[in-house]
Symmetry: C2
Subunit: 433 residues, 2 copies
């Protein structure tokens, strides 16, 4: 049973705070193991990667077979059905079109002092994308990570994907091909992250690593951060649905279950202004759980972390949602745009009853890599911005330096940084002489 | 003596690679101490903060005196000279004007399928800024951190600044006031970071923490990352100057020293296409080091990490600079704009001989919090973007769902996520019936 709360109950605040604070994931402490693996790969390169792959993935590789050949990729892609290929192509096209709009503009202007100021965006040169193997090997995630990198102009994009026992997912390889990935390596775990960060004889190092992974991968990403850039460390998925009574309970139930089926630690919350509708949705969830393929996972998530919250009005729903700062937020209400304007923290908003969250996972266009665990309070989903960086520009004319240089000198002296001040003063003296 | 290299020497590649790989900083391992401090503050709140402040800063506080009162702030601000105040005001105004241009636009459009797509930017609600005490207590850093937050629309901006023995820096308090900071607490170290991240009875928690600090502060920021957002962990400062012979050696020497004087671990590199000019600059550095106030620090930095590199042409200079990916890059050449176009990785570029880097530290307008340790390959300086986050938006019409929903269902099935597929299918069936 999920928890049922009413915002007008006396103990609501305490219950809601407990819901917000619920720790849904205990990451095993694998840091020491990961540190050893990274050190080994830095020291022995390909040999370490090959040895660790034999050990963890039961796969014997050589430096020559670390990377998928063009022929292998083609052969795998040929296994994909026409329907799957068409769906993947539609998704790739829509994700590309959305992210193309994210490219920010360079800027340059001259201000009143005569100083030229501005900035310029440039892409990261080389990026690496981690793709999990096995069950959580999602072709959609390949598109969502790789396409923004390519739209940003990343010249070299490498994928690492473990293939336990040598088994690869044809859809993952096709997604990589559609996204324009340049290199695909059949390795995984902390050893793959280390190879991307530090390079080996076979694998050139990259500047940025993104993509989801297990506890070993997450720990490795944390460890190589600084040497390379990384994206966020994602936690279990979440959805919050705000729905009024004019919805089909079964649709809302399926939306809640589409997060719950990801992971026993996922969280699905319904907020409604109609207590009876809330009960009807809960009943529909139970009904669907009778037959759902992943009912064990989804059922555990719904039982342990699910919640149905009744509120007196949608204003209150928005305020509670902002405290949750959900990864995914569905607004199934009569005027979703008006309610959306009241939302200050959410990774992605899905407006109206015809926008199930699953659309956003695959074909909507926006990225499905989104901030979890309430981090939408301070961070954004993956985007083109993760693969570009800004260089600020400034150019003083003699007049501009005369106008603003003395203030710089004054502040340098106040901070006891004499050379800073002198570097300005020497030029001002020359200009004034 | 700094290292002198010539790009045309046979062993240049080895020497340059060694220069790139030089480890300039050994951070003491304070993680265990910091973990204890954070746990203590989470558990005992104000009492822990007060006790740790008495221990580390030799300052006895109560919950009532943790925060500077308005009267105290006014009294400190009144101690600032008119010249310092005017300089700080000019800096604040210029930094504000530059960062105001960084605010990105919301977007919303309807695509061919009839889907409404877009995104919306919202500010972080509450941010905390760490300001070091003692020698490295720079009012300019207060402006550089606080102004972007306020331009972004952060509603509540709190500063923590240790005041060892109760001594505060009037310029820091004035900078905070000019930047529109809302709360100032006289605490520091890991305990201040913990108080900002988790809150106490007196200090409400924030969503994002930025600002420089010592090893304890850096370790605390790493530890609270996830619970709150953090900015980059900054390393020692760096400058790379590309200069031709038509420069005054003393000016370039002062620019190199203005980084070297920050820290014995700072790095200053000159790349020139004229070996004699390089020698003249090195001689000018030595001359300035005879009298510079911070000659011990600057001299050690220049001796241990300084470099003068001679190249056959400016094209080579740009290529080497891109491998360094310097925090600060000065282009003191006849056509700095043309050379700037060849730069792919740098935190900030200063164009022409009248733009000493020190201008950018104080009054130029761009931020002086910039990526160090070659991280300009994948990251940017502090900006308004650090205090806002993007929520993606999508809204399907029935027609749009009919057009793209089937592809989402196909991909959901291929990923064995049945509820995802059903959430789309249930709606499509209703629309098609």
């Amino acid at each position: 049973m999920p928890v049922f709360l009413d915002a007008q109950d006396a103990d609501f605040e305490a219950s809601f705070t407990a819901l917000l604070g619920a720790k849904r994931e205990d990451s095993p402490d694998v840091d020491a193991v990961v540190a050893d693996i990274i050190a080994d790969v830095r020291h022995r390169g390909d040999a370490a990667v090959i040895e660790l792959t034999a050990k963890f993935d039961r796969l014997e590789l050589t430096p020559e077979t670390l990377r998928f050949s063009e022929e292998e990729i083609e052969a795998y892609c040929a296994q994909v059905t026409e329907a799957d290929r068409a769906a993947l192509e539609l998704a790739a096209e829509r994700v590309r079109a959305y992210h193309a709009r994210q490219m920010p503009e360079d800027a340059s202007w001259t201000d009143a002092s005569g100083a030229m100021l501005g900035w310029r965006w440039t892409p990261v040169s080389a990026a690496g994308l981690y793709v999990p193997g096995g069950l959580a090997s999602y072709p959609s995630s390949v598109l969502m990570n790789a396409i923004p990198a390519k739209v940003a102009g990343v010249e070299r994009l490498a994928i690492v994907v473990p293939t336990p026992n040598g088994v690869a997912n044809p859809l993952v390889l096709l997604a990589a091909k559609l996204a324009g990935v340049d290199e695909i390596y059949r390795i995984g775990g902390a050893q793959a992250v280390a190879a991307l960060a530090y390079g080996t004889d076979t694998i050139a190092p990259v500047d940025k690593i993104t993509g989801p992974g297990n506890a070993f991968v997450a720990a490795a990403k944390r460890r190589v951060f600084g040497k390379v850039g990384i994206d966020m460390i994602a936690g279990p998925s979440e959805i919050l649905v705000i729905a009024d009574k004019d919805n089909t309970p079964d649709w809302i139930a399926l939306d809640l279950l589409s997060q719950a089926e990801h992971d026993e630690s996922a969280q699905s919350i319904l907020i409604t202004d109609d207590a009876d509708f809330g009960k009807a949705v809960a009943a529909a969830v139970d009904k669907r759980l009778e037959t759902l393929e992943r009912r064990e996972i989804a059922g555990a998530s719904w039982r342990d972390y699910g919640a149905v919250i009744t509120v007196p009005d949608l204003e209150t729903a928005a305020a509670l949602s902002n405290r949750v700062a959900p990864e995914h937020l569905e607004l199934c209400v009569a005027d979703p745009d008006a309610l959306s304007d009241k939302i200050t923290h959410a990774g992605a908003i899905f407006l109206g009853q015809y926008t199930p969250e699953a659309i956003g996972d695959y074909v909507g266009g926006p990225n499905h890599v989104l901030p979890t665990a309430r981090s939408a309070r301070f961070s954004s989903g993956l985007s083109v911005m993760d693969f570009i960086k800004r260089t600020t520009l400034s150019k003083m004319t003699p007049e501009a330096l005369k106008a603003i240089g003395p203030a710089a000198e004054t502040l340098a002296i106040s901070e006891s940084l004499e050379a800073h001040g002198l570097s300005v003063r020497a030029r001002l003296d020359a200009l004034n002489s």
